[in-house]
Point group: none
Chain length 196, copies 4
DNA sequence: TATGAATGAGCCTTCATTCAT
DNA sequence: AATGAATGAAGGCTCATTCAT
């Protein structure tokens, strides 16, 4: 189980994802995470303040990569429609590529207490800001409706994506999530006042 | 605290809603619920198999009322668009009218473990079926697009409604949720291929 | 190990004395105390707030009896000299009669942290007040020196008694502690200005 | 924090006194002592067998100085009464001059476990022997009572001194401890059969 | 039906000590 | 001699559930 090459910080976070996906949030004991990471229990506390800190860091680390990757991909697209499609595709494909992470973000981390969830929401804001930017630019360029309520639209984008992924995870990831992206995009876009 | 007139079953469920809203999922001990309901701890187990059973029953009871009320209201509307608007309005207004219940459904019950959430999803299916019916009829009558993916559209409806309410609850229910319903409806409808 | 007749509160305190005397302060786990008392671990927490509360209660309970018994015995004596002798004798005899308690008060409880020791000192004040009263009355009746510094004298009384008992406990209670009382009394009294 | 000139052995002991006085026995971790001493954790173990060894060495080192200083001072006095007064004065003044050490000897080191305290008592014997010598000589020269029980008297001397200092430390060293020495001496002496 | 005292399994975190460098 | 990252054992407390009354 030893993964000597990775720095211990990432090693522990990756272990936490696996343990939580396989055992569930409430059975993800620190000792299990340590064993999975190939370190002693005490070593965890050289890198994290406490158990909660592991989970927040996990979310920050992964969601940070998410936002970064999505920003990169989006930058290469010219229209807002394309940017939104890319965002959905990337979001879907990254979770489809990491089954464990999908379970953790869609099911397990939601079981955390209100305090932890508030901190997770802080991290989420970075993602929501990307959505807001795409929508705002789309309004300015005339791709999206002039009277589009950006906040509501963002809730629709995020709510739809989230619900779609959760449904997919709950169905044991049986179908191809990435393939659905264009249809989700289509549904959203047409609501945004685009002409077909 | 005694509520002698109500049968103990409902008495306990109502107590659970209050205790969970005020203390959070993880601090909603059976003993607290019992005290709030004005019965002894042991009495709970004469009406419910275990703690999980209280929560599922709570959800069933409340969501059952939800679906019933929504079905009634919808029945009086002629077009699918109106039905959908009514569904959203009713959903919003019922939660806006019961702050405790809103907190419980949007925040607290999500902290339950995977198994409980799967059971809750079973209960939710009744609600989703109503949405499906509205969408399907809308397709048949030509109000909605011919090529509408009902399952995806339903996820969009539910995901958007859910995200909107959760955002509202997390913002301490500061603004008028019911007032937003028409705009949410508008966003959704236009995505469904309706002509303005 | 069951002692059904005693109320559980006293049952647990007595168990704590035994466990602490036999295992030492730092090895007096709650689970050991529970087993000794013949109750479940959780039952402890129906009668005490936490582990510290057991120890404070133990000290209050025992020291309360101490002060009460000593007050009773002293009341029957006419002179302050006799009262002081009685106090020493009773203190010695009560600890000589309960080896476990002697170990706990002289050795184990001193290992508690500063916070707990401050609370224990609060309880001790009741005992010190009895000493003060005896000394003050003795001054007024002329049995003790007019210029006696009551606070210093009280420290001498308590310090001497305490050191004597601790030495005796550390020597495994090999000799007859009670037999020493008159000589300790003699040493103290003559220092208080008594004429031989 | 580096104290390059002092040999590391003393450097660590002095650090232990400061850390223990400022943080308390139970928060005086080896790592804190190492940081205060300006050395690495592991270095401690090049000079001391284990943590207990630091504390015993601390006590030996400091108490050794104590006994030595007191012996020196006493040697210059002719009568046993003067010797006893000097002993008390020196004991008081040395602790009054080192607040940290006073806290450590009177409060913190008492929290150590029974084994450590037994070893500390071994060290204390050197001090008690000095007291015994003073008392024995005093008996021989006729300054103290013929029938004085030296062991009891020693317990009274030590118990009174100890209790007096502890009370002073617990009162945050508010008053002048050294000034009390003559009155403590007076109380003790008169109890030893001296004629005023 | 109703009670509520009693049960006991389960886990995060600290810190003295080691050892490869 | 010196370092400091890594180790891993150990225990107080909560709370869902039971059962004698």
């Amino acid at each position: 189980m030893k993964q000597q090459q990775k720095p211990k910080y990432k090693q522990i976070i990756d272990a936490a994802v696996i343990v939580m996906a396989e055992n569930g949030y409430h059975h993800a004991q620190v000792s299990k995470i340590a064993k999975q990471a190939g370190v002693a229990d005490g070593t965890i506390y050289l890198y994290f303040k406490n158990k909660e800190d592991i989970l927040i860091s996990l979310f920050q680390e992964k969601m940070g990569l998410f936002v970064e990757k999505i920003r990169q991909e989006i930058a290469g697209k010219s229209t807002s429609k394309e940017k939104l499609l890319t965002l959905i595709q990337k979001h879907f494909s990254m979770l489809a590529a990491d089954h464990h992470l999908a379970i953790v973000t869609q099911l397990e981390l939601r079981q955390s207490n209100k305090e932890l969830r508030l901190k997770i929401n802080e991290v989420l804001k970075g993602y929501l800001m990307v959505v807001d930017e795409v929508l705002t630019v789309g309004k300015e360029t005339g791709e999206f409706r002039d009277d589009l309520d950006v906040r509501l639209a963002r809730q629709m984008v995020f709510g739809t994506i989230d619900e779609t992924i959760t449904t997919w995870v709950m169905n044991d990831q049986k179908y191809d999530l990435t393939a659905i992206a264009p249809r989700v995009h289509d549904l959203l876009i047409k609501g945004f006042g685009a002409t077909p």
